[in-house]
């Protein structure tokens, strides 16, 4: 499948990255911010795998980076959701504007 040029895959991953950035900047709900973060991590994974396949086909490092990023993203999502549930229990809200006690 070498007929697909690398720049098209990079176009898709860059677009996905900046969609995630847009969502991260505009949303104020913690769960939706977490979802935007997942989009950003996914675009980075696409980049790693695509560079590995197209530029360094004799190595496997990009695949390993993708696997480890997926693992760490899973752990991070679990911890973040535990924090969100705890915050909801104490504040009855998961909006980031409402959790400002530790700001100053």
């Amino acid at each position: 499948m070498s007929s697909v040029p690398l720049s098209q895959i990079l176009f898709v991953s860059t677009a996905l990255f900046f969609i995630g950035v847009f969502g991260f900047l505009t949303r104020r709900n913690m769960i939706t911010m977490l979802m935007s973060l997942e989009l950003i991590l996914n675009s980075v994974n696409i980049n790693f795998v695509a560079f590995n396949k197209y530029l360094y086909p004799e190595k496997l490092d990009g695949v390993f980076f993708a696997i480890f990023i997926i693992t760490i993203a899973a752990a991070e999502a679990a911890v973040a959701i535990a924090i969100i549930i705890n915050l909801y229990r104490s504040h009855k809200s998961i909006d980031v504007e409402d959790a400002t006690e530790m700001k100053y």
Binding site: S2, V12, F18, I19, F22, L39, T71, A74, V79
Partner: protein
């Protein structure tokens, strides 16, 4: 896929937003299939679609009414965020376009058993140390989740724990 991702960050009902995120992640898995990376695509589907999206949907159910619409973000913030995203995208894509990657025209031989062997080899280019570090990280995340979510409602704690254990077994 991009449309699903865009809807995931702009939809005002949070539950629909989660479902659009699901479709965007499936689209990413399809992209991996298209690049002949079946193992990464399978890992993507199992962990993201089967684990993280389910976790997110559960947390949506636990924290708020799913039919309620979220308040619209202020227009100033939308404009600023869109400008930042568009200019960043333009810059990054211009760099990609100008650089002009020369692709190495070798066949990409890629084998799941090769991944497994490199994952556990302690040699010069093995990934045994990151593997162990990640396993410790997963253990720490699991214990941390239990400690953080431990509180008045034990059923929430149990659910989080089960989700993490699922992911841990998937990784192992």
């Amino acid at each position: 896929m991009l449309g699903a991702g865009l809807l995931a960050v702009t939809s005002r009902k949070i539950f629909r937003s989660a479902i659009w995120l699901l479709f965007a992640l499936i689209g990413v898995a399809g992209l991996y299939f298209w690049m002949d990376m079946q193992f990464i695509a399978a890992v993507q589907i199992v962990i993201y679609v089967g684990g993280i999206v389910v976790l997110i949907i559960f947390s949506i159910f636990l924290t708020q009414q799913s039919g309620k619409e979220m308040p619209k973000p202020p227009m100033m913030r939308v404009i600023a965020g869109a400008l930042a995203a568009v200019f960043g995208f333009a810059l990054a894509y211009l760099l990609i376009y100008q650089y002009g990657f020369s692709s190495a025209n070798q066949p990409f031989n890629y084998d799941v058993s090769a991944i497994g062997a490199r994952m556990l080899s302690t040699g010069n280019d093995g990934f045994s140390l990151p593997f162990e570090v990640v396993s410790i990280l997963l253990l720490a995340a699991m214990i941390g989740c239990i400690v953080i979510a431990m509180g008045a409602k034990p059923e929430i704690r149990k659910e989080t724990k089960i989700e993490i254990e699922e992911q841990e077994t998937i990784e192992a």
